[in-house]
């Protein structure tokens, strides 16, 4: 799972090596460092928690033709989509791409995932020749969609999802186009924060460009070009070699989404044959009238997001690693929708379902291999919740931002160990959540609690990592509270699938607790949903108030488990009980572990497990 670079000299490649391996390795590492420094720059300039804390960002380098040269960290869906953004700019601005230019693109039907994930791409010229591209994205604070923050559950088409560009020149030969800048900022809420978002990407690309030019000046264009071509052929050779080592076969996964009573499916059949891997989404639901759809570029990015870390953990993420992969996504389906279908919730909707399905099928394929079984994983944190709060904060200023707990995640179990509690997510190796205090300083709210969620990790011989739960109330709010946009497409179905007998992680949940009329009696220090006084209303989709003494309770899913829960070591079950990660009910009914006087009762446990296995047999065969 770790993101690292192998020092192994390329294998399986028959080209003539003319460059000494040390120079090659230096250039390869330097390219990584270019991205790392660009990411640091982006974070230093950006002022939003979604970028700095959630790491909802991406920076990568691309070849002169726009193909991926060196994929960076952040949300990995964007590595291939930003390549399409570069290629779209190359087509659109043929003959008009100059040194010092930067372009903005956020149209989901051209390349972007949704309108609020803006790409800023910069050509890198050396000696008057286009030699590479730097590309980055952040989720901007607002994009002018009908709902604040960019996710627009109320949108009925792309036209109500905010400003959308298939490509504009934002910076012309080093000069910011002020008229365009003013126009963009005139279309969004919180323009000062959006300006900071855009400037963070400009600064990021400037640093990437400077460092790339320093690299080329040091080693020369030909040497760097040769190293880049070698990197790509090396990645292709190594991924094909890995695929040949894995068993041929066909694996399936199915994900359900639900919006306002309508149920959608993402069905994936993954076929591995020799050194190729094909992802076929035939059988997935037709596109939705709601904004959970995604475009084909988004689906492609969605399947690569788990593929890169699971199959290419020691292979450079570039064009070479893309070549062995093919995708079929039926036109007009939820994974390849047709304009003008709404897509603003795509990243937590169909794209994440594509992520999950690909993670599941790749996990199954790895689990079928003697050599790679330890790389297999159940599905990690499968359900973002994207709650964007908006309203006047305690300083009387409009604040818009996401609850970053959606990035906290939960690890899927591995074949050799439990998933990490609140352990992040597969598609973003650096995702994390902000401190409670960071959010409370930005919004007029107070957290009642935030902690691991009991029984959220999927049961198994190795259990999935626990998700979490939180509750917030309005606090010091000049308007009596705030509002929030909730794009919670999945409280009705588990999505973090288990593997090889493991159970799925628990579902998300969103509850609006309506305070009793006697507000002064409200318990302002409740430590659990049941302790918050008032009437519970499950919610999942739309815009809601958090006013007066009402509370919002949120819980997010755990990771999937691996293996039969009855094979879990009883002492591990006992430890989970003591840590409050599982309930006594789960210990007995799912794991078959019983205690006496605080210790595992081995005899009673053996009898209980035998009884549970017999019950499975009694169920009979479906034949």
């Amino acid at each position: 799972m770790c993101w690292s670079i192998s020092n192994t000299w390329p294998a399986g490649n028959d080209r003539d090596w003319t460059m000494d391996p040390i120079t090659f390795s230096i250039i390869r590492h330097r390219l990584f460092r270019v991205i790392e420094e660009a990411v640091i720059t982006l974070k230093h300039v950006s002022g939003s928690a979604v970028t700095n804390e959630g790491h909802d960002l991406m920076v990568s380098l691309y070849q002169a033709d726009g193909s991926l040269l060196m994929g960076g960290v952040g949300f990995l869906h964007h590595l291939t989509s930003a390549a399409e953004a570069c290629k779209a700019i190359i087509r659109k601005f043929a003959g008009q791409i100059a040194d010092g230019d930067m372009f903005l693109l956020n149209d989901p039907y051209t390349a972007a995932l949704h309108t609020s994930d803006i790409y800023v791409v910069a050509p890198i010229h050396h000696g008057g020749r286009l030699v590479a591209w730097s590309a980055c994205f952040v989720h901007v604070t607002d994009i002018g969609a009908m709902n604040p923050g960019g996710f627009a559950p109320e949108a009925q088409d792309i036209f109500t999802e905010g400003f959308s560009s298939p490509g504009i020149k934002l910076i012309d030969r080093g000069e910011l186009r002020q008229d365009l800048w003013d126009t963009i900022l005139n279309m969004v809420r919180s323009p000062e924060m959006v300006a900071l978002d855009l400037r963070s990407m400009i600064a990021c690309n400037n640093v990437a460009r400077e460092r790339m030019l320093a690299l080329i000046n040091k080693y020369g264009t030909d040497v760097v070009d040769d190293a880049c071509r070698t990197l790509i052929s090396q990645s292709e050779a190594r991924l094909r070699e890995r695929l040949r080592e894995l068993p041929d076969g066909r694996w399936q996964s199915r994900q359900y989404l639900e919006v306002k009573g309508e149920i959608y499916k993402v069905l994936l059949t993954m076929t591995k044959q020799a050194d190729t891997l094909a992802f076929d989404f035939t059988g997935s639901s037709p596109q939705s009238k709601y904004s959970v759809n995604c475009s084909k570029w988004a689906s492609l990015g969605g399947l690569f997001a788990p593929l890169f870390p699971l199959l290419c953990y020691d292979i450079v993420w570039n064009e070479g690693a893309i070549r062995p992969i093919t995708m079929i996504a039926p036109d007009g389906s939820i994974v390849n929708c047709t304009r003008p279908a709404p897509v603003s919730v795509a990243t937590v909707g169909a794209i994440q379902s594509v992520n999950n399905a690909a993670c599941s099928t790749i996990g199954k394929m790895l689990a079928a291999s003697e050599k790679y079984a330890d790389e297999a994983t159940a599905v990690w944190h499968a359900n973002h919740f994207a709650i964007f709060m908006f309203g006047n904060n305690q300083r009387g200023r409009l604040a818009i931002g996401i609850l970053t707990e959606t990035f906290a995640g939960a690890g899927g179990a591995r074949t050799f160990g439990d998933g990490l509690d609140i352990g992040g997510e597969i598609p973003n190796p650096i995702s994390r959540m902000a401190n409670v205090e960071t959010i409370e300083a930005q919004f007029p709210i107070r957290y009642l609690f935030r902690r691991r969620l009991i029984d959220s990790g999927g049961a198994g011989k190795f259990r999935g990592g626990a998700g979490g739960e939180l509750a917030i109330v309005a606090h010091d709010a000049p308007d009596g509270g705030i509002h929030y946009v909730l794009s919670g497409k999945g409280p009705r179905f588990p999505q973090s699938d288990g593997l090889c007998g493991g159970y799925p992680g628990a579902v998300n949940d969103y509850v609006w607790v309506h305070a009793p009329h006697q507000a002064h009696n409200t318990d302002r220090f409740a430590q659990g949903l049941r302790e918050i006084p008032g009437d519970d209303e499950p919610i999942s989709w739309g815009v809601f108030p958090l006013m007066g003494d009402d509370a919002l309770y949120v819980r997010w899913n755990g990771g999937g488990g691996i293996g039969d829960p009855l094979d879990r070591a009883p002492e591990k079950v006992k430890a989970d009980l003591a840590a409050g990660v599982i309930s006594r009910q789960a210990a007995g009914e799912i794991y078959g572990v019983l205690e006496t006087a605080g210790s595992v009762d081995e005899k009673a446990t053996a009898a209980k497990r035998k009884q549970l296995r017999r019950a499975r047999l009694a169920a009979g065969s479906p034949q």
């Binding site: 199915r254 359900y256 079928a368 588990p494 499975r616």
Partner: protein
């Protein structure tokens, strides 16, 4: 010679078998789930369930019909077919 096809299944002499007890489940390269013991439980009844879970969605549990070892699971609506995973051996 045994060949692993998942954490819980192996192929031996052209037959898919339970990795725990070697019980035969069908020919290699074909679906084995119909030979398993299938039990379903509504997701809403599992520990840790949410307040708004779809009442029809179930967890299908495929167990070895001989030893009761859990071989695979899948989340499904009743009308949806089994997921099919076929490993070429």
């Amino acid at each position: 010679m045994k060949k692993r096809i998942s954490e819980s299944l192996v192929v031996e002499h052209g037959t898919i078998c339970c990795a725990s007890c070697a019980h035969a489940l069908g020919p290699a390269g074909a679906s084995w789930k119909k030979a398993a013991a299938l039990s379903t439980v509504p997701v809403k009844d599992l520990p840790g369930t949410g307040s708004n879970v779809e009442p029809r969605v179930v967890l299908r549990r495929f167990a070895c019909p001989n030893c009761g070892h859990l071989l695979d699971t899948e989340t499904a609506l009743p009308e949806d077919p089994f997921l099919e995973d076929v490993v070429s051996v």
